[in-house]
């Protein structure tokens, strides 16, 4: 903040923009929370906040609905998938940046799958998982997530790896340390803040993921949160307050994570992505 103070006066226009922006950002989320505490009659009556919170909606979702199980599934697939992605992506980023492994072709084509809509990959991946017997399992989904995000993770990590002084790994190599040793005991610790940041980003992307999950986890015990929520919405009889409660419960882990990790998260997105 100290630098921001210099040469800048108070700007009413900037303040107004921020207040307006915050309102537009937060009101829809607040409204979702508010609806999650209403009963059927209140939702259609056109009130914005209930006088008497109906925590029963939350209780109904937490016990006796597939949502808690689905949230657990999502967390497992998201976190394990992200861990695997990082384990695969850091060596890749290091080799590509420092040793030009794969040459220009690999560096240039790495992000190309991201350009196409993921629906392109759904049918082929489904066919592949069916062949290896991992369709409709959490293991299959986790492995797919791990691979899907490698390009994004490499892309985000490249900036951090490039910023490391070349001398460090050269010195270690002269001391007789092999590539594995240099990677594990020198490079990885030095970029660990970036690994945390990119890991969080990838975990959030996994938790958000809907399209692949719909097709790859159709059985009740492998369903993820986004799939369970969409099915919940599809049931005509489900009461809107309960759907809203399920949505709020599902985003709580993410908001908690974001609050605790805000420094790493913002740092990871900003210093790696736009080069």
């Amino acid at each position: 903040m100290t630098r921001a103070h210099r040469g800048r006066d108070r700007s009413p226009l900037a303040t107004t923009t921020i207040v307006l922006g915050l309102l537009l950002t937060l009101v829809p989320i607040a409204y979702l929370v508010s609806v999650s505490l209403m009963d059927r009659a209140e939702i259609t009556s056109g009130i914005l906040v209930t006088g008497e919170p109906k925590w029963q909606n939350w209780a109904d979702v937490l016990s006796g609905s597939p949502v808690p199980r689905a949230i657990a599934n999502s967390l497992i697939a998201a976190v394990l998938g992200a861990l695997l992605t990082i384990v695969f992506a850091l060596p890749g980023a290091w080799a590509i940046v420092r040793y030009r492994t794969g040459g220009r072709t690999l560096a240039a084509t790495l992000m190309s799958p991201w350009l196409l809509p993921p629906i392109v990959a759904v049918i082929p991946i489904m066919a592949l998982l069916r062949t290896v017997g991992l369709a409709n399992t959490l293991v299959g989904l986790t492995i797919v997530y791990a691979f899907v995000n490698i390009p994004v993770a490499v892309w985000l990590l490249e900036g951090f790896v490039r910023a490391l002084p070349v001398e460090i790994d050269e010195a270690a190599q002269l001391d007789g340390a092999g590539s594995w040793r240099v990677l594990v005991s020198i490079v990885a610790p030095l970029v660990s803040p970036a690994l945390v940041a990119v890991g969080i980003i990838v975990a959030i992307l996994n938790y958000h993921e809907f399209l692949l999950a719909t097709f790859l986890t159709q059985s009740a015990d492998s369903q993820t949160f986004t799939v369970a929520l969409s099915l919940f919405l599809g049931e005509r009889l489900t009461h809107t307050g309960k759907i809203a409660a399920a949505a709020v419960i599902g985003i709580l882990p993410l908001f908690a994570l974001a609050t605790v990790m805000q420094r790493w998260l913002v740092g990871g997105l900003t210093s790696g992505s736009v080069k």
Binding site: R98, I123, P151, E170, V266
Partner: protein, 309 residues
């Protein structure tokens, strides 16, 4: 770009170094293997699969039954639904990206300018980005709910009488309404990246310009904008690609309707492949869609590269 310190100088090295060096090269190949595998499994394999499926009669359970040549592609091109969806999606992607980037840049400039806005405020701005798209769809479905939703309640409070506004069941308004949800969700990404670029510019240049009498819009146009335009263009490109992918919001909010008014190519592919099990048609639409996305994004990518130099 990385400096090729290790690449250019092998001849000077003494002979015993050769063996470990070759071993190191092998290790680097192993390091890059998962990345290459990801590229093959998620890029090359789907592409070949899709091309093969587009050229054959294929169902979900039994792909590649019979070679049919360009039949699938020809019938997709002749299908007015497909063409309409391609046009619709292009208009949507360009519109949503323009609005997002404009709003995102405005908020980033305000955040950069305002003395009081700390990291907590910045985190609040990021919340839509952290919210899963499925939940974003539910939020805006509730907001646009004609009986008692937020929009309905507010417009009534402001004096609107008569039939409630029912945006999601109007063929004219359903797509713009989805666009609002899309803009809400992704504008924070623009804000974040542009804000980072603003922090990265040299404050002294700005101060010198301010001392020379540049203020307000002039200062923005001649100092700030040139410094961030490369990033803004890159963000526009990213935003455009994301907008073309819109799927979750459409499934959640309208299921492509009313009529075909919110049916995008992505949704058509989904219907063809997983509801009608006609993988050949789905693959043909996919190829057409890929062509359109490429044609629309390449000029933006070229512009981005030029602005960044």
């Amino acid at each position: 770009m990385a400096k090729s310190t290790t690449l250019g100088l092998p001849p000077v090295r003494p002979l015993p170094r050769q063996a470990p060096r070759r071993r190191a090269e092998w290790a680097h190949r192993v390091f890059a293997t998962p990345s290459v595998l990801s590229l093959l499994v998620l890029g090359a394999y789907p592409l070949i699969f899709i091309i093969a499926a587009a050229l054959s009669e294929s169902s979900l359970g039994r792909p590649f039954q019979q070679f049919v040549g360009g039949d699938n592609l020809a019938s997709a091109v002749a299908d007015t639904d497909v063409i309409a969806a391609l046009v619709r999606s292009t208009v949507y992607a360009l519109g949503v990206s323009l609005v997002s980037v404009t709003l995102g840049v405005v908020v980033a400039l305000a955040l950069h300018r305002a003395v009081a806005a700390g990291s907590f405020v910045r985190t609040l701005f990021l919340l839509p980005l952290i919210t899963p798209p499925v939940v974003v769809g539910i939020i805006w479905k509730l907001v646009f709910n004609p009986s008692g939703g937020l929009l309905d309640t507010v417009t009534r409070f402001l004096g609107h009488t008569g039939a409630p506004l029912s945006l999601l069941s109007s063929t004219d308004w359903a797509f713009p309404a989805i666009g609002v949800a899309d803009v809400w969700e992704w504008t924070p990404l623009v804000t974040l990246l542009v804000f980072a670029a603003l922090l990265g510019q040299d404050p002294e240049v700005r101060e010198a310009a301010a001392l020379d009498g540049a203020h307000g819009f002039r200062l923005f146009r001649s100092i700030t904008l040139p410094a961030i335009r490369g990033v803004v263009a890159a963000v526009f490109f990213i935003r455009l690609v994301i907008a073309f992918k819109a799927f979750d919001l459409i499934v959640l909010m309208t299921s492509g309707g009313p009529g075909q008014s919110t049916t995008t190519p992505t949704y058509l592919i989904y219907q063809a492949a997983l509801q009608q099990f006609d993988v050949g048609r789905a693959a043909a639409i996919t190829l057409l869609f890929a062509a359109v996305v490429t044609i629309v994004t390449i000029p933006v990518a070229i512009l981005t590269r030029r602005l960044q130099q």
